[in-house]
């Protein structure tokens, strides 16, 4: 029972990171109908920037804030520089461009910082918390991870719901043509979506790297599982992204915990199993709306 609680809590904490990546993918998907394969690479790059700032200033929080700001800038810059020119061309072109961007960022990180593994500091203690004498399987930092993503998600949800900018973004995602006719600058809205996605990715990078080390490919597997979470939840649904992330985090934590060393080798296979089952039942993810296919 104690084990179960531990696996659940640590799964939820990791799941929040998958949720953050998934949410960033959903933001871009809703605006651009594009899978951003560079999302993990952008997060890796902003985490390097954070590490540099922390080393220069000695302040974790300075690095944290700079990483988020860099995420915003990188997201918007990527959209303006390479994605926008590709829209209207065959759809896969933009996908390949994001793959090119990913490879470019990984190459640049290698050139500037080298390929070696670097440790990245955590904001709070990573010593496991205890309730009385039972270890809970999570640390103060894990709690911070979950809270940080939760706060970011809630802020985003509130922004979408209660601000006029949020209304514009929802309108543009719902129907770009009508939104444009109503005087919304759809292109600008899309850039803002990429900037927000960059911010969420940067947040995920800073939060996950203390437990994975930092190297040019460090976000690859996180991206794969974040993508999986988004697909499980349904790419059009921000709520689905969060639920998918948590579901995947907990399931992988059980797999790693209960199946022993073989289980940790097979986490990807477990994730694939979950994905296949979900997509068999709901081909467009759990939170997809009624299926509409234009004829």
């Amino acid at each position: 029972m104690v084990e179960f609680l531990q696996f659940t809590l640590s799964g939820l904490s990791f799941g929040m990171i998958y949720a953050a990546i998934a949410l960033s993918l959903v933001l871009i998907w809703r605006g651009t109908r594009l899978l951003n394969f560079a999302q993990g690479g952008m997060a890796m790059f902003t985490t390097y920037i954070a590490l540099e700032v922390i080393r220069q200033t000695g302040s974790y929080w300075a690095g944290f804030v700079v990483a988020l700001a860099a995420g915003v800038v990188l997201g918007a810059a990527a959209e303006l520089a390479v994605i926008r020119p590709a829209l209207g061309k065959p759809e896969l072109n933009a996908v390949i461009i994001t793959i090119g961007l990913l490879i470019l960022l990984e190459g640049l990180a290698g050139i500037f910082y080298g390929g070696q593994y670097r440790s990245f500091p955590a904001a709070f203690s990573i010593i496991g918390l205890r309730a009385g004498s039972t270890p809970l399987g999570v640390s103060r930092f894990d709690v911070f991870v979950a809270l940080a993503v939760l706060v970011a998600t809630l802020l985003l949800a509130a922004g979408f719901r209660y601000t006029s900018a949020g209304l514009r973004m929802r309108a543009a995602a719902f129907n770009a043509t009508v939104a444009r006719l109503s005087g919304i600058r759809v292109a600008r809205v899309i850039t803002v979506g990429w900037a927000l996605a960059g911010l969420l990715g940067a947040l995920a990078g800073v939060l996950v790297t203390p437990s994975t080390f930092l190297y040019p490919n460090s976000m690859d597997s996180i991206f794969v599982f974040g993508f999986t979470a988004a697909v499980i939840g349904g790419l059009d649904s921000p709520l689905g992204a969060v639920v998918g992330g948590l579901l995947l985090g907990v399931a992988l934590s059980y797999a790693g915990g209960y199946l022993g060393s073989q289980g940790s080798d097979l986490t990807a296979l477990v994730a694939l199993g979950i994905l296949v089952v979900v997509l068999m039942l709901r081909p467009d993810g759990i939170f997809s709306g009624a299926r509409v296919r234009r004829v």
């Binding site: 896969l92 090119g100 960022l105 290698g110 296979l269 081909p283």
Partner: protein, 370 residues
């Protein structure tokens, strides 16, 4: 797509034979490293050609064809290890067994579209090789399995192994290309394009949509399996580290920058992804840069090349080649006519007129359901 729709079988065979002669002469002229590169390119071509059929013709994206390569490679290693069969038989068997795996995946994938299919296949590409870590007894874990491949005795003892490998791989790649070119022009190929352009219309016209989509996966997997088998005999080692998500992504990248849905495009794309990194490494090391910089400049350059090619040549390299040929008046009338309507290919727009134009143009191209 020209290669698939307009060329007759004799012409395809002629081009294949001419290529075979050129490759054979090149392999004798060039050194062992270049021979190895020829083999590498041929392997890439085999896998990419299968993927370009799946994604370009049937409209199903796959980010997991690296997993099929792994199936083919491990099948080869296990067969060579436990049974002493002639290698040609092993190659064919590897392709057949991978085709069966492709059928299983195809059945699961038949209902999925666009990013959902991309996600499922991406995870397949990550998950399947990890099985090798989990079951070390059968698959040798991290270390992998050794594959022992030698030159046949009739070539004499002094015949270089790399040259023989280049020949075997090139022959396999050319046979694959000829078969795919024929398939693309056949009833099957037409069904694929019909399903890609409009599933409902294809179903109304009597095409079995599910079977057609599954068959595309089977064909694509067989090609990837053969490529994996070739990789196994050329590298002499099958280990999970060779079948990362990077491999699967590289295959799709090659198919798209070469020109999606075209077999010549599969060749251009393979040349780019094999030669650009090697060339950039040569340049970087010859300028005496530190090792971490020198080893990463090719990576960054490769990423930049991908972005630039996609922005400058939206139809991939094959599109650029056609445009160039048209510029010099070498192309047929239909090529020129096609070069005039690139915008009709944009699948972002789904209005009926565009769709009609798209399916009317034999080019069709691109991602279909993505």
């Amino acid at each position: 797509m020209t290669g698939m729709t307009t060329r007759s079988t004799p012409r395809v065979l002629g081009v294949a034979l001419a290529t075979a002669v050129i490759v054979a002469l090149l392999s004798i002229k060039l050194n062992a490293f270049r021979d190895y590169q020829i083999a590498e390119i041929a392997i890439e071509v085999t896998a990419v050609a299968g993927l370009t059929v799946l994604t370009g013709l049937s409209g199903q994206i796959s980010l997991g064809n690296g997993a099929f390569m792994a199936v083919g490679a491990y099948t080869t290693a296990l067969l060579m290890l436990h049974l002493n069969w002639p290698f040609v038989l092993v190659l064919v068997l590897a392709a057949v067994i991978t085709a069966v795996a492709g059928a299983v995946v195809g059945v699961a994938a038949a209902r999925l579209h666009g990013p959902y299919l991309a996600g499922a296949t991406l995870l397949l590409g990550v998950a399947l090789p990890s099985v090798a870590y989990a079951y070390q007894g059968a698959f040798g874990g991290d270390q992998g399995l050794d594959v022992n491949f030698t030159t046949p005795s009739f070539l004499g003892v002094n015949f270089p192994l790399t040259r023989w490998e280049a020949w075997v791989c090139s022959a396999a790649a050319l046979i694959t290309l000829v078969l795919l070119a024929n398939l693309g022009r056949s009833r099957v190929g037409r069904s694929w394009r019909a399903v890609r352009d409009d599933e409902v219309a294809a179903a109304l016209a009597g095409v079995n949509v599910a079977a057609t989509r599954i068959l595309a996966f089977v064909v694509s997997a067989a090609c990837a399996g053969l490529a994996g088998a070739l990789l196994a005999i050329v590298t002499g080692l099958v280990a999970p580290g060779a079948f990362t998500i990077t491999l699967s992504i590289a295959l799709l990248t090659a198919a798209v920058i070469g020109g999606l849905g075209t077999l010549p495009g599969a060749v251009w794309g393979s040349l780019v992804i094999v030669l650009v990194p090697t060339y950039a490494t040569d340049v970087a090391t010859s300028h005496g840069l530190s090792s971490s910089v020198a080893s990463n400049i090719p990576v960054a350059a490769y990423g930049a090349v991908l972005i630039l090619v996609m922005l400058i040549f939206p139809q991939g390299i094959q599109g650029a080649v056609r445009w160039l040929l048209g510029l010099f008046g070498i192309s047929s009338a239909r090529t020129r006519q096609r070069a005039d309507v690139p915008d009709a290919l944009s699948p972002a727009d789904d209005t009926p007129t565009v769709k009609q134009r798209r399916s009317a143009s034999p080019e069709g191209s691109s991602s279909g359901n993505q």
